[in-house]
Amino acid sequence: MQNKSTEITVGMFVAAGIVALFVLAMKVSNLAEFNDDTGYQVVAEFENIGGLKVRSPVTMAGVRVGRVADISLNAETYNAQVTINLYGSFDNIPTDTAASIYTAGLLGEQYIGLEAGAEEEYLEEGSVIDLTQPALVLEQVIGQFLFSKAEGED
């Protein structure tokens, strides 16, 4: 009888540990997203990506539609080449969609915002997004502002 209750509590302990791992997997980390392996990859070139990182979110109208999969430098154009992984459920994004890099809040992380175009054809694996807008670099903006202000005073 003693042995039986020991086994039951051990079983409960192991089960609780596995449940904890499951909670960490599903509720805390982003494992649930990896199940969506039907996604497809498109490429976009930006003049400047600012603080964009691999795994940064890609959104359309504020809804997350993918992630940045890879960032590299195009050796010919000296532009940043960003590979975007779009989720398979969003398979009707027009080919003339525009991609811009925005900042979430003043100090927040940077993300790519997509704005849908009007083409009848849709983006597919390996497509290139031509319409891109580089990241807003705060120092440049402030520099330009000060410069124009100084010019105005003359």
Binding site: T6, E7, F13, V14, G17, L21, L24, V28, S29, L107
Partner: protein, 260 residues
């Protein structure tokens, strides 16, 4: 002068011998582990005393560590208007570091010291030699089940610690300080990676479980068979386990997260 050098030499040789005995001991125990799957009830019994009895301690400490993280993190983050990142702060610090490390230290204090005292007492009351007389290998019958139980329990305890701690942080952050619960969870999910963060934490906890159980069992097995010797061995278990956990944690962190 010569005496000092001699005692230094004796100390060095003694430490080396101990290290060698410890490794031989580990190999013998590891050799005994596969046979355990035929008599798994031995392991279940040890899982109870090593794992189940540590659960309450782990749950309560995890809850409070998470709640403290929530409070302290909020106070710092609110200055930057970034209190929505509280979830990320709590989850990353728990999953990557505090979960495995604090659970490991508690495990060493709760289960490790008990293992050392138990084995040491078995040795001093000559139960182990008695077993050898009956042609039962104490390494296989006594030590190996405890070793496997420690190895299994530690990752489960660390996972429990992290999960409870995150809920503790959520309780304080959302219930007490009024952080938006949607932002808390969603930012956490965006920033916490399953492979990079959670699995690396699990690997850490397995390593700590291995080391702590090894140290505890060896200290017990190698203890001077007197009541004073057993007491010293128990102290050494806790001290050496703490050193090993903290040192290994630095090495593992450097390997896992160093490039980031």
């Amino acid at each position: 002068m010569i005496d000092i050098i001699r005692s230094l030499g004796r100390w060095g040789l003694g430490s080396l011998q101990r290290l060698g005995r410890g490794h031989l001991f580990l190999f013998h125990v590891l050799a005994g582990v596969p046979g355990l799957f035929l008599r798994f009830s031995l392991v279940v019994q040890q899982l109870f005393s090593v794992g189940v009895l540590s659960v309450l301690l782990i749950l309560i400490s995890g809850l409070f560590v998470g709640m403290v993280l929530g409070l302290q993190g909020y106070n710092t983050l609110v200055d930057f208007g970034a209190e929505e990142s509280l979830g990320v702060l709590v989850s990353l610090s728990l999953v990557r570091e505090l979960g495995p490390v604090v659970a490991g230290l508690l495990f060493a204090g709760r289960a490790g010291s008990a293992l050392t005292a138990e084995i040491g007492l078995m040795k001093s009351t000559e139960q182990l030699s008695g077993m050898e007389m009956m042609a039962v290998d104490p390494l296989r019958r006594i030590i190996a089940p405890r070793f496997l139980a420690g190895l299994i329990s530690m990752p489960l305890l660390a996972a429990l610690f992290s999960a409870v701690g995150i809920y503790g942080g959520f309780l304080v952050g959302h219930g007490l300080l009024g952080v938006d619960d949607g932002a808390f969870w969603s930012q956490m999910q965006v920033k916490t990676d399953w492979y990079g963060d959670v699995l690396n934490g699990v690997i850490k906890s397995i390593v700590f479980g291995f080391v702590v159980t090894w140290i505890a069992l060896f200290e017990g097995y190698d203890a001077t068979p007197t009541s004073e010797g057993v007491g010293r061995a128990t102290t050494r278990t806790v001290v050496h386990s703490a050193f090993a956990i903290l040192g290994l944690d630095f090495v593992l962190t450097a390997l896992m997260f160093g490039e980031g």
